[in-house]
Amino acid sequence: MTLDPLNLIAILGMAVVTYFTRLAGLALAGRLDLSPRAQAAFDAIPPAVLIAVIAPSALATGWAETGAAVIAALAATRLPLLGVVGVGVVAVVALRAVI
């Protein structure tokens, strides 16, 4: 059971900003009136960040990874979360063996 001080600082920093977002409603309730455009930008935050995090792995690693990402994206239109993970992992193992 190890606890690295820098890891603990990172975890606490993550906790502080997360709690801030959850408490913000106490101050904002009833006062938040976003334009449709601002609302669209707000709604786009999760997909923008998720894709920004994985883009190097999906687009800048190799053809096997890019191919498997395309297959996973196709699977995501049909399958639940874990199904997509299963398809993606099998695809990358298969493509790495071939390419």
């Binding site: 993550m14 502080v16 334009s35 894709i51 995090v53 992992v89």
Partner: protein
């Protein structure tokens, strides 16, 4: 209705989401172990942060030593949706004491927020119902992520079985769950290209900020076209 019955009702509403989160929690723990995080660190992250998407993104970005600012920034961005969610749910917390509000909101996640909103449409949202959902949900997440870290550490290098790609596939699936048509398409295209280019030309962890900002800009621009055509959408959506 007694508080105990109400808490039971909360539990019976949350348990399908809880069961669905079991393999996800195990996966997060195993991937975190692959990045060198100890089971204790995984447990503390779950207990303090308790936000699945942000925790997955953090584990993917984690290196040794930890890139603290990149981790905090990515967490803030991914969890920014909580601002809209809490703004929408807070007026429904009438029966809560201040302490119950502060504690209850600490563990507000997508699933229990959505169920609380649903409940508030038919009946008053009680603290018993809220904590009847939240307590088992949090306990399940902490147990499965910690267990995943212990099992994952025993397995060794996750790259061996293609498990390093599990993140990429998982994030693609999560993105699909946030899909809202054309605007999301331009968001994803801009975020992906900007992030990959920044990663190649500048390096980690700048690709996250560059990709996220370009994705948001694209959403802002794409949504502008339909501003007049579409009436205002209401409240928070996750």
């Amino acid at each position: 209705m007694s508080a105990l019955d109400d808490a039971r009702l909360g539990f019976s509403d949350i348990w399908p989401a809880m069961v669905a989160a079991i393999p996800v929690g195990l996966l997060l723990g195993a991937l975190a172990a692959g990045k060198g995080l100890s089971p204790l660190e995984v447990f503390l992250m779950g207990a303090f942060v308790f936000a699945g998407g942000a925790q997955f993104a953090a584990v993917e970005l984690w290196t040794s030593p930890a890139p603290v600012w990149a981790l905090v920034f990515s967490t803030l961005l991914i969890n920014a949706r909580h601002i809209l969610m809490s703004a929408s749910v807070v007026p429904k917390l009438n029966g809560f004491s201040t302490f119950q509000k502060l504690l209850g909101l600490y563990y507000m996640a997508d699933e229990n927020w959505a169920l609380a909103e649903k409940r508030a449409r038919s009946r008053a949202l009680s603290p018993a119902y809220w904590f009847g959902m939240a307590v088992p949900f949090v306990c399940c997440w902490l147990t499965t992520t910690t267990l995943g870290a212990i099992i994952g550490a025993a397995f060794g290098d996750p790259k061996r079985l293609g498990a390093d790609f599990a993140f990429t596939a998982l994030f693609i699936a999560l993105t699909a769950s946030f899909w809202k048509g054309r605007v999301t398409f331009w968001t994803v295209a801009a975020a992906g290209i900007a992030s990959a280019l920044t990663y190649k030309l500048v390096g980690a962890p700048w690709h996250v900020a560059a990709g996220a900002i370009c994705g948001l800009l694209a959403a802002w621009l794409a949504a502008g076209d339909q501003d007049e055509a579409q009436p205002a959408t209401e409240g928070a959506q996750s």
